[in-house]
């Protein structure tokens, strides 16, 4: 029971960490960045490479974030910006980029599976249950990410500008906000978060060039069901992530993998705004 609860919370945390960057990009730019999965994978490989060089695993985090940000800047400038007026095409183009990045990774690292060691090993005794220290740490990381982004959005000038662009881009431009700059920064931050999340989830399973794709699908279903709100995203991650854990435990792990996508699709059909306020 306790273990199950911790599973739900830690799964929700991991999903939140993975989806947060995608949510930011969706809120500001109204597109789903289909390269998000590939960026996740890039972050994972950063962790693998750090491991191969014997670096402290935690150091891989800023490296992954930096690589993600750089990739994000390039993608935004060359692909997303020209497609500003064609959102569905932008989604297709980012999907194509995902393929390109995936193939580059395959060429560099081979198709084989890699592993990396978790930065935190061992278990911790919680209420007479042994639980993975690393998974618990990830809960903390998700909280930090959520609080951090919220703080940036609500307390900084850039954050205020970003919220304005999310709500009404033309109005924001009309009162002096450089929405082009906001989009650019948002995409870089979103990509950086994606890579960082990728690095963080590496120790939980294995790394191969296509690992990002299942995460991508779950992430964008969560984003669609959350609208533009970080709070809604947290709720969605808990509810749908929890459902996934329960279905995986009591029905079948394979069907568990479908839970989030199917539930989200049905929720959106019944209530198009998802978990967001009216």
């Amino acid at each position: 029971m306790v273990a199950q609860l911790l599973d739900v919370v830690s799964t929700a945390a991991i999903l939140y960490a993975v989806a947060a960057g995608l949510l930011l990009v969706f809120g500001v730019m109204k597109i789903i960045n289909f390269a998000h999965g590939a960026l996740l994978t890039v972050g994972s490989y950063a962790a693998v490479v750090a491991g191969q060089y014997g670096l402290n695993p935690w150091l891989a985090l800023p490296v992954a974030a930096a690589v993600g940000a750089l990739l994000g800047i390039v993608i935004e400038y060359f692909v997303v910006r020209p497609l500003y007026a064609r959102p569905l095409d932008a989604i297709l183009a980012t999907w194509g980029l995902g393929i390109v990045i995936g193939q580059l990774l395959t060429i560099s690292f081979g198709r084989g599976v890699h592993f990396s060691e978790p930065p935190l090993r061992g278990v911790v005794d919680i209420l007479a249950v042994d639980y993975s220290r690393y998974r618990l740490a990830l809960i903390g990381v998700a909280v930090v990410i959520g609080v951090g982004i919220s703080a940036l959005l609500s307390r900084t000038r850039l954050g205020l500008d970003t919220r304005a662009v999310i709500m009404n881009e033309d109005l924001a431009r009309g009162i002096g906000i450089n929405s082009g700059r906001v989009r650019f920064i948002t995409f870089a931050v979103g990509s950086s978060l994606a890579a960082a999340a990728g690095m963080l989830i590496t120790p939980l399973s294995s790394v191969d060039p296509n690992m990002g794709t299942p995460w991508l699908v779950n992430a964008f279903m969560l984003v669609l069901v959350s609208g533009s709100s970080l709070v809604s995203l947290a709720i969605a991650c808990v509810v749908l992530g929890g459902a996934q854990v329960l279905v995986s435990s009591y029905v079948s792990p394979i069907l568990g993998g479908l839970t989030i996508a199917v539930l989200a699709a049905i929720i959106l059909r019944v209530r198009p705004q998802g978990f967001a306020h009216a």
């Binding site: 699908v217 279903m221 079948s252």
Partner: protein, 614 residues
């Protein structure tokens, strides 16, 4: 299809000729392709023939992607799921029940049924009022994911991740399979070509271009989308069945979204809405992928992905149209200017007033509103609107900006809009009917800003407007447009009859308004809602519209409800004026009563002239 007397009998000869004239070239190309398919196996090595057989079948699926996306605007990643439905049906039946004529037919039927079932579910999830394009596409992406996972979890029954193989199936030679695949592809492409060039195909484009206008012309767009989606699913299932019989191997990847997105990539590369482009692109890329799979598989995919991204960013219409444009420009000087063919001009047939089917007038007034209210949260836009209007009445709705006039129009034309109250059109309660059903009850709405199909010609716009009443043919394009007298009069009076071949997008503002009015009149509606029909019109144009509206009421006996700012125009043509202020009816009476009223004058802080601010 109704055969009106007279003109069509005379026309039928030449109309038939037109159909024959259109089908003949298609038939010629089809026969040529079949001939090529026939010879090809003898010119190529066995390996290539095998690979191409597969590529040809994949091209059939890509064809459905182009139909749905290029022509109807539905971006679908999930055609692979329907393909797999047919393939796995064959695989399962032949593996677990053996092979025989009975099981073969059963497998085909089951595959088709499964595809239909999935398509209906997806259709219910993805095609409904107000759905966003993104959500619809996302659902088509979730479908193949669900399918692959279900196949993985099927254990020994479905073969799990290895799939099913080694089952017995139809025994044909390599060449025969190639001919089967080639014939299937060529026939499907020819049929698709005829369909998209027909009047029904034009409806698809209209829906892609302006779905809202289609709904307000009475077309049940969600149902049409589901119909096409199911039809394409069946095609994919049949193709999948053939594939399974040929390859005798089925694996979960066939149902996956990787395959599904590859088909979208081929469609983008080849060119959306060209049919031939995606077919050629699929064959070319799939064939090349097979040839290179030993040598440079990853680099090949890298190149493909990069080309894909470049095409989307730089050549959004695809490579085939781009090449086509180059060729056209290169040969333009050589070909000379195209002759305008008079043989293809549209012909208008004016319906007998007795023939105009229209809507049966139910019991009661043409339009009755009781207690209609609309609020957004705490903001009350309309409050307690009660009014009745009869046939032969021209009611003008006036009031300052923000009084709720357009909202009232919306509520009458769309049963989903209002928050409360009852609306009856021609004695029928509109309840919560969406716009297309309100049109059937007899409402026609003309929008404030001219809402037509900009890429279609005037004639094509009118044909779409008639689509609900004159069923468009699925294989031919008719030159005939049948219009009720009111629409025909409007066409002639505004000079649109001289511009039947002009794209609607380049018409002047006044002509666009006139076109939209004609389209609405073509619906044979009994209640016409006009939102600021004179906005932006010249003095002359306004006079023309004024007399047209008066005739609608006097001659055709329609009920016309008109939102107007121009009080002089209102005074000249109305029989009755309703003044709306802050969501409530302030005054409802004759033109003189309203114009002389002090109350009305006070809400329009008029400056000396009785026209007041507009």
């Amino acid at each position: 299809m109704l055969e009106p007397p007279g003109s069509e009998a005379m026309l039928s000869g030449s109309a038939l000729q037109q159909t024959r004239g259109r089908l003949l070239p298609v038939l010629a190309v089809l026969l040529t392709c079949l001939a090529v398919v026939g010879i090809a196996p003898y010119l190529l090595d066995t390996y290539s023939v095998n690979v191409l057989t597969r590529s040809l079948l994949y091209a059939c699926v890509a064809l459905t992607v182009d139909m749905l996306w290029g022509y109807m605007g539905i971006l679908t990643f999930g055609q692979s799921a329907f393909f797999a439905a047919g393939a796995y049906s064959a695989g399962l039946f032949f593996t677990h029940s053996g092979f025989g004529p009975g099981t073969a037919l059963a497998a085909l039927a089951m595959g088709i049924l499964a595809a239909i079932a999935m398509a209906v579910i997806v259709g219910w999830l993805a095609f409904w009022h107000g759905v966003s394009e993104l959500y619809a596409s996302v659902i088509t992406l979730v479908l193949p994911i669900v399918c692959t996972q279900l196949l993985y979890s099927g254990g020994a029954f479905t073969g799990s991740s290895s799939g099913l193989s080694g089952f017995e199936s139809i025994d044909l030679s390599v060449e025969a399979w190639f001919w089967t695949a080639g014939t299937l592809l060529a026939t499907l492409t020819a049929a698709a070509w005829v369909f998209v060039s027909s009047d029904a195909g034009q409806v698809l484009v209209a829906i892609r271009e302006n779905e809202q206008r289609c709904q307000y012309l009475g077309l049940d767009t969600p149902r049409l989308k589901i119909l096409l989606f199911v039809a394409c699913a069946v095609v994919c299932a049949i193709t999948g069945y053939v594939f399974a019989c040929y390859s005798m191997v089925v694996s979960p990847e066939l149902a996956g979204f990787v395959f599904g997105t590859e088909l979208v990539i081929y469609t983008v590369l080849g060119g959306r809405a060209t049919l031939i482009g995606p077919v050629l692109a699929t064959i070319a890329v799939d064939y090349e992928s097979a040839q290179l799979s030993g040598d440079y598989p990853f680099v090949w995919k890298l190149i493909l992905g990069s080309v894909f991204v470049v095409v989307i960013v730089a050549f959004p219409r695809g490579l085939l149209p781009f090449v086509g444009d180059l060729l056209r420009r290169a040969t333009a000087a050589w070909r000379g200017s195209p002759r305008a063919s008079t043989a293809d001009l549209p012909i208008i047939d004016v319906l007998d007033p007795a023939e105009a089917i229209g809507t049966s007038a139910g019991s009661g007034a043409a339009l009755r509103l009781e207690g209609v209210a609309k609020h957004f949260g705490s903001l009350k836009v309309l409050d307690g609107i009660t009014l009745t209007a009869g046939a032969g009445e021209l009611v003008s709705l006036v009031g300052p900006n923000g009084a709720g006039k357009t909202t009232l129009m919306r509520c009458i034309a769309d049963g989903l809009e209002r928050s409360s109250g009852r609306i009856e059109v021609n004695g029928h309660d509109i309840g919560r009917s969406p716009p297309e059903f309100c049109v059937r009850l007899g409402v026609g709405r003309k929008f404030q800003t001219a809402n037509v199909f900009n890429t279609l010609t005037v004639a094509e716009c009118l044909r779409i407007a008639r689509a609900r009443l004159d069923r468009p043919s699925v294989f031919s394009r008719s030159r005939l447009i049948r219009l009720p007298p009111a629409a025909y009069r409007t066409l002639v009076a505004t000079g649109l009859d001289q511009k039947l071949d002009s794209p609607a997008g380049i018409l002047s503002h006044g002509l666009k308004q006139a076109l939209e009015l004609t389209m609405v009149l073509a619906l044979e509606a009994r209640v016409i809602l006009l939102d600021e029909p004179t906005a932006g019109l010249t003095k002359e144009e306004r006079a023309v519209i004024g007399s047209i509206l008066k005739d609608l009421v006097k001659v055709d006996g329609l009920c016309v409800l008109l939102v107007e700012h121009d009080l002089d125009f209102v005074r000249q043509i109305s029989s009755r004026v309703v003044v709306l202020h802050q969501g409530k009816i302030l005054l409802d009476g004759s033109v003189d009563e309203v114009v002389e009223s002090h109350l009305v004058k006070s809400i329009y802080s008029g400056a000396g002239h009785q026209a007041g601010p507009t």
